[in-house]
């Protein structure tokens, strides 16, 4: 008995030492070819299930950025590594992956996730654990009111709505609008924002109808709107419904302009609506119509280069989601560079140092626009970074703006 316990405790001690040793080696910083440490950035994206169409382009862009940064010498010699996790479009998993990245991988900054529910779940943890988070989702409330550790790269719903309303006021010179919105989260937020902001642009909402995301026919709601004084129709939704609405509008011989949301900024809308898509206008990022960016600007060069390398690498056209992913990665890596310049070289950058440098980002040219953050603004973009796109002959062109 005594012999056994003596042997047992020695074995236990050896095991403990081994475990501690392995852990120390494992969660330390990896050294690359004898030089500087690798900077790890956590990334949570929706790579499967409902939001994969958003997450996959974001991942593609981040991989491209990672390669570009490392090929150009990394972050002051430190290789950068994006540790990408899939949250399967479930907020509970977004939280889980965030925790995993921070606790197990020891990252001190996170990018993600692709959809609003997941990002909302992660921002709680980001604020609690004081980890800077650059969000990739759309809802305004992510950064309004401003939270200390949470930033964003996509434009807010507020900005997108204002871009559309500004177009109706200045270009179409109309006053009364009707809104047809998806009764889900995206559509309702759009409608609420339009309702709250219409007055600012001298517009009046004279009709508002909702529909179910999977409804097969919206002629009932449209006949109601047709019989009101509405001079323009704003449609806020995703999926097949906006294209069905475009066809219904044509069927009912409605002549008022159709202004969509950024939810129709994809080729599928044009495919499904066919001829009815022509004349439809919607707000979106300029990456979809690069010619809308002044020809010799840094911005244009950045977008053209990005679109080209994306197409070469992935054999498919770039889209706004890829742009948001790229921008988040760019802001993060530039902040890290600035941190080293300000505080000298470090093995590992702390969360608060990274956060402070992100917040100091000024006039950084990305894909969606020029990013400037401040203690009171964690949005980065401005309304003018967006354009109104018009569909003509089945293709996107810039709707001439004032």
């Amino acid at each position: 008995m005594h012999k056994k316990s003596g042997f047992g405790s020695a074995a236990l001690l050896i095991c403990l030492i081994m475990v501690v040793g392995i852990m120390a080696a494992g969660c330390g910083k990896k050294k690359v070819s004898g030089s500087k440490s690798v900077y790890k950035i956590g990334v949570v994206l929706s790579l499967s299930q409902a939001q994969a169409a958003l997450g996959v382009p974001e991942q593609n862009a981040l991989k491209l950025l990672e390669k570009k940064v490392n090929d150009e010498g990394g972050i002051e010699g430190h290789r950068v590594q994006f540790l990408i996790e899939d949250d399967e479009s479930l907020p509970a998993k977004s939280k889980e992956k965030f925790t995993k990245l921070v606790n197990q991988e020891g990252v001190t900054a996170v990018i993600g996730t692709s959809f609003s529910g997941g990002t909302a779940a992660m921002t709680e943890d980001a604020e609690k654990n004081k980890i800077p988070l650059i969000g990739l989702s759309a809802t305004t409330s992510l950064t309004h009111p401003v939270k200390k550790w949470t930033f964003r790269t996509p434009p807010t719903t507020q900005m997108v709505v204002e871009r559309a309303l500004g177009y109706i006021q200045k270009n179409l010179k109309l006053k009364k609008i009707g809104v047809l919105y998806d009764s889900g989260l995206f559509g309702t937020e759009g409608y609420e924002t339009v309702k709250a902001t219409a007055g600012k642009y001298g517009l009046e909402v004279v009709a508002a109808e909702s529909y179910g995301t999977n409804d097969p026919d919206m002629t009932a709601q449209l006949t109601k709107i047709k019989s009101t004084p509405a001079q323009a129709l704003i449609v806020w939704g995703t999926g097949p419904a906006p294209s069905i609405i475009a066809k219904n509008v044509q069927q009912l011989a409605m002549t008022i302009p159709y202004i969509g949301s950024h939810g129709i900024a994809n080729q599928t809308f044009i495919n499904l609506a066919g001829d009815a898509a022509n004349g439809v206008v919607f707000p979106a990022g300029r990456v979809l119509v690069p010619s809308s960016i002044p020809a010799d600007s840094d911005w244009r060069k950045t977008v053209d280069e990005f679109a080209k390398s994306y197409k070469e690498a992935y054999k498919t056209e770039v889209n706004t989601f890829a742009g948001h992913g790229w921008d988040a990665g760019l802001i993060m890596t530039e902040a890290m560079k600035a941190a080293i310049k300000a505080n000298g070289d470090q093995e590992k950058l702390s969360a608060s140092v990274i956060r402070d440098q992100i917040e100091k980002t000024k006039d950084l040219t990305g894909i969606a626009g020029t990013f400037t953050y401040s203690p009171s603004n964690h949005d980065g973009l401005k309304i003018d970074d967006l354009i109104m796109i018009k569909i003509e002959n089945g293709a996107w062109t810039e709707a001439k703006s004032s």
Partner: protein, 323 residues
């Protein structure tokens, strides 16, 4: 005596319901003019699709007492296959239609043979749960093959809307109506004039007596599933140009079709038509008259009310429903 007064009472309920419906329709048009007519016309188109799907539910229910929760997915698959044949492979519309219907009918038959037949001794609930599993499986396969985006199916004969007293419907709507009429006629002839069809009705009424005269419940079940799958596929194809299908569009179709079937009387083909058309039209009138948003709840409300008040639906008989 008691039986007679029962019959009259049931018919009274049915006729009152139809009379109220007719009244609502007339009122809608007179109070809302061409707007009201539009609601009704559009409602008839969508309602026809509900009818076709309801017929699928009824065919399987009347022969096997099973509620097939994958019925909506049969429609979804019909539409997706039509996209693959007609839009992507550029096969002619008619050949694509026939091919898509055949493939889905085969899938229905295959499922019946591999799952339903094997469960022929089990309780109805078990089989229903298996159909739920089947619907999830079909959804996953569809997503894997076609992704998540909705797909384009070209209208059969053009897109320019036709105006009737200032209400407009697209040419595809006539194909929808035509298919519904064809389906009702074909099913009627099948069940009343052919030996196989009559055998199925016999098996539905009394399976033991039917087997005694040589009608096999197994064959009945197989034919029912094949028919329902083909019918569902046809519905999904014909509405495809109006409502682009996607891997998840089976749920809404199945739910509405089921509500329509229950409203008209589960197991009853004429009931499926009545239920479908009524549901489609009333949904649209509600969307037109009430504040926005109520339309979506209507089908569910109908389902709950019918099951509470008169589970056998408008045209069904009380003994049809064994709850």
């Amino acid at each position: 005596m008691a039986l007679d007064s029962n019959k009259w009472a049931e018919n009274k309920l049915l006729w009152s319901a139809l009379a109220i419906f007719a009244l609502v329709v007339v009122l809608t048009v007179s109070l809302n003019g061409s707007k009201g007519l539009q609601w009704i016309l559009s409602g008839l188109v969508v309602g026809s699709i509900y009818s076709l799907i309801a017929m699928g539910f009824s065919v399987i229910y009347s022969s096997t007492r099973v509620i097939n929760f994958a019925q909506g997915e049969f429609s979804m698959l019909g539409g997706m296959l039509m996209y693959t044949f007609a839009t992507k492979a550029h096969v002619s519309i008619w050949l694509s239609f026939v091919l898509s219907v055949l493939v889905v009918a085969l899938i229905g038959a295959a499922f019946e043979q591999t799952a339903i037949y094997k469960l022929r001794g089990s309780s109805v609930i078990t089989v229903i749960i298996v159909t739920i599993g089947f619907s999830i499986f079909l959804k996953a396969i569809a997503k894997w093959i076609w992704g998540t985006d909705p797909v384009k199916i070209a209208p059969f004969t053009g897109e320019k809307a036709i105006t009737i007293f200032k209400a407009a419907i697209v040419p595809q709507s006539f194909w929808v109506f035509g298919l519904t009429v064809l389906a009702v006629a074909a099913l009627f002839l099948f069940f009343s004039r052919t030996l196989v069809g009559k055998g199925m009705r016999a098996a539905a009424a009394n399976s033991d007596a039917a087997s005694l005269v040589g009608v096999s419940t197994n064959t009945t079940s197989l034919i029912a599933w094949t028919l329902a799958a083909g019918l569902g596929a046809a519905a999904g194809i014909i509405i495809g140009p109006i409502t682009p299908p996607s891997f998840s569009s089976g749920l809404m179709l199945g739910l509405k079709g089921f509500s329509a079937a229950v409203l008209g009387g589960l197991g009853n083909i004429q009931g499926a038509v009545v239920g479908g058309l009524m549901l489609g039209v009333l949904e649209n009138i509600i969307a037109g008259v009430l504040p926005t948003g109520y339309k979506e709840a209507f089908a569910f409300l109908v389902l709950i009310l019918v099951l509470l008040i008169r589970p056998q639906g408008l045209l069904g008989k009380p003994e049809d429903v064994k709850v």
